[in-house]
Amino acid sequence: MTNRLKLLVGGVQLRDGVGTVVDVVGRILTRAGLYVLANERNYASTIYGAHQFDPLVISATPPLSHGDNLVDILMALEFDANPDVPRQPNRDTILRHGPHLRDGGVLLYDSSTGEVPVDDLVARGVKVFPLPARQIALRELRREVVKNMVVTGALFRLLEFDMDQAYLRQLLEERFLRKGRELVDLNLEAARRGREVIEQVLAAQGWRDVGYRLEPVPTNGERRLLVSGSEALGMGAIQAGCRFYAGYPITPASPLLAFMERWLPRYQGRSLQGQNERESIRAALGASLAGVRAMVASSGPGISLKVEEFGLAGAGEIPLVVVNAQRAGPSTGMPTKTEQADLRMMIGAGHGDFPRIVLAPSTLEECYTMIQEAFYLADKYQCPVFVLTDLTLAEVRKTVPEAFFLEHRMPPHREGVLTEAELRRDGYRRYAITESGISPRIFPGTRGGIFKVSGTEHDEFGFVTTEPPKRAAMMDKRMRKLETYLQEDARGPQVVGTPRGNPVLVGWGSTKPVLLEARERLRADGLDVAVVHLTHLWPFPTHLVRPVLADAAAIIVCEQNWSGQLADLLQERCLLPTRRILKYNGRVFYVSDIIRGVREILRNGATEFRVSEFVPVTVEAHEGD
């Protein structure tokens, strides 16, 4: 197999089993040595009835990004009639994504309630496969749930993959054997029936194949995993020694809460679902004060509620890792849609000045490594460390070699904690004025030493003071941590290509893969562009960023927000003019968005390009919060 293909599975949320199909297909293909990238999971915050879709890029080599919104194979799992759409039965998937189906692509749909007129697609060379999956499951197999397996079997036939059902059988046995052999057989039978129907359609149409074919790729014993961004974060945190987590349910931070609830107890840690955002972060601060590495995660509205405690972590010098899985704002915004609009908030949230560090991983792998770095930095600098992800990063599922997780481990390492002997010798001042800005810590219970931790301004011992010289010295001490950080731990941007003399695409967060692929395509068209991606955003490493960008032909900042938050920050810090490509309709950037933007800016002299796209909407879901 040489080509890469993009499969989109769509249906009614919580009814059609979109998630199950994608999970089964994704896992099996990963086991077969193929790379799967699901970067754009789309669901709604209505629990039932909304349109859900999940595009998967499948490739024999690791795909650079999710590419465009063009789809090769569309699977529409809806089956019944929708009175809201008089001319079409419930075909939301076909209507929404049909226009993005590649000419000559494949449509597989559930035809249980009759066949659908798709003349426009057929006219574009799309091969159409009606499959009465629900009917087969219900009437022949007497179990509606196995309709997902009918569909999966059909898909595998289209791809000429797993014809002997070996992969499927193994997965089903792992899942269901403890519930009985019959269940495994029933599912296999469902898959077989799906395959049969496809055979019939192929034969009736006189098609030899559909133009897509997947073959297992030998991995030479390399183990591969299908992991989500939230899971990578959670695993990284546990690896880094995080033993206390507190959350409050909010999309898209909830999967991390679920992960920690499941795993922390098995590593002698504890996870708390707070009664609200404030209880969560306060409990985490308490645990951190007690000496345990602690983390909280939330999204926009929840982060807003935690802000007062950020100041306490800063002034009281209590280490804490805070993950903000951004979603579209403002206010409750679009809970299940992606955006990168909290950068300004994270570098500024809280009253007064206090030291903080803001990191933004740009890939699933960096979610794993950077959260470890975050714990190290929080401990070293005794301040809040913010890790900014977004819905795309939280939800991304991706095939990653298992070795990656084993090789990139940063052992927990604690500096600056005084021992009892040191305390006896030197005494203890919690907020001792030091050159680095970092004062020694002790944990409560240490014989021979006590601390007074306070968010109110204090002297070196932690006692309240408003004496001007003491205040100024304490403020200076705290803020000196940022100097130390910039010298010792800040990282410059990741640079791909030659920024000098060329247009540069600048980004942060989950958009990196798209920028890299856009660069490839532009270069293939003869336009040399570089990509400069920032991960360490605050304190802003001007000394590392400015030299990289100073001689660029054009600085084009690509980000998913309305104002261009990084662009503004760059201008402010580096005193360099920026142009912008901005998208804020809730969808991820596609490579084509970036290319259109670059053309618009370089050819037509636009200073900014705002991406919009036509998305036909048939059934508008009424979503919650």
């Binding site: 591969r224 546990i238 020694g241 033993r243 209880e279 927990p412 409560p444 006590i450 306070s454």
Partner: protein, 292 residues
């Protein structure tokens, strides 16, 4: 700051070391919080606790300053936060004695969310509220417990009837509910000892008059209205606790003493790992396996 070896210092004095000296205490002369401070010292001395074994969590207000007037590890966080920090501290290290010392505004207004849920969660924390009916530090605005004992035939949204923290605590599932009064610090100390020893969340509402801003609930006023819980009251009986509150209320009296006390069965927990050596060699295998 280091505590000298206990052998050379009488334990009662230990609690005055490393603390703001008495002449620099910022409370108004006559403030009820002085008596709370003395009673806390008495209780800690009687329990033979050493400062390093204790974590004091102060609220935001005049009352919260108490954390600096006592030896011992202390946290001074945000307004309304003490009990939530305490939950995290005790979850992380159940061996610490955690005492939260806060005002009525801090606990029953901005912090009521944390108060209600601490009652349910039952962390091993003693909470002493210095209840003066006003926001002292912000110069005397009315707090939720303001208007205690004042006749109120009509009310408005702006000034609702006084809030009864004991009833809320009982209703929310607290396992230790008591009341004390700054005019009688010896009795307070007895109650605190019980509260600190209670295995779970112990709430003591201490009437601690604000001599500057609350001209109604004065020491004299309290002296005329408080009354000890009768010796035959069974604190293990929740219904009896509610009846006692009804009875005192009907008579226009305020009960002092332990109103309810019944330990709950709690899963034992260990101190969470925190040192490098405790965290070394994280075995990722069980997690990795689930992604294959």
């Amino acid at each position: 700051m280091s505590t000298k070896p206990a052998a050379r210092t009488p334990i009662s004095k230990v609690w005055e070391e490393n603390a703001v000296p008495r002449h620099r205490i910022q409370w108004c002369p006559g403030c009820g919080d002085y008596a709370v401070l003395n009673a806390v010292k008495m209780a800690l001395t009687r329990l033979e606790l050493m400062p390093h074994e204790v974590l004091l969590i102060g609220g935001i207000g005049c009352s919260g300053q108490i954390r600096n007037y006592l030896n011992g590890n202390a946290l001074h966080g945000t307004h309304g936060g003490p009990l939530a920090y305490a939950v995290g501290v005790t979850m992380a290290n159940p061996e610490l004695r955690v005492i939260a010392l806060a005002g009525d505004g801090d606990t029953f207004a901005i912090g009521v969310e944390n108060f209600v849920h601490a009652c349910r969660r039952d962390p091993n924390v003693a909470l002493i509220v210095m209840d003066n009916g006003v926001y002292g530090l912000t110069t005397g605005q009315r707090s939720p417990t303001g208007g205690l004992g004042q006749p109120q035939e009509e009310f408005s949204e702006e000034s609702p009837p006084a809030f009864n923290p004991l009833r809320l605590a009982l209703a929310a599932g607290a396992t230790f509910v008591a009341q004390s009064f700054s005019g009688d610090p010896r009795h307070s100390a007895d109650v605190y000892v019980e509260a600190i020893e209670h295995p779970g969340f112990a709430f003591v509402n201490d009437f601690s008059p604000c001599v500057t801003y609350n001209k109604f609930n004065t020491y004299d006023w309290f002296k005329q209205h408080v009354e000890l819980v009768p010796p035959d009251h069974d604190p293990a009986d929740l219904q009896a606790a509610f009846r006692l509150l009804d009875d005192f209320e009907a008579r226009g009296r305020l009960p002092l003493g332990v109103i309810y006390r019944r330990p709950r069965r709690k899963k034992p927990q260990q101190r969470l790992p925190m040192w490098d050596h405790e965290l070394a060699d994280v075995d990722l295998e069980p997690m990795l396996r689930t992604f294959r």
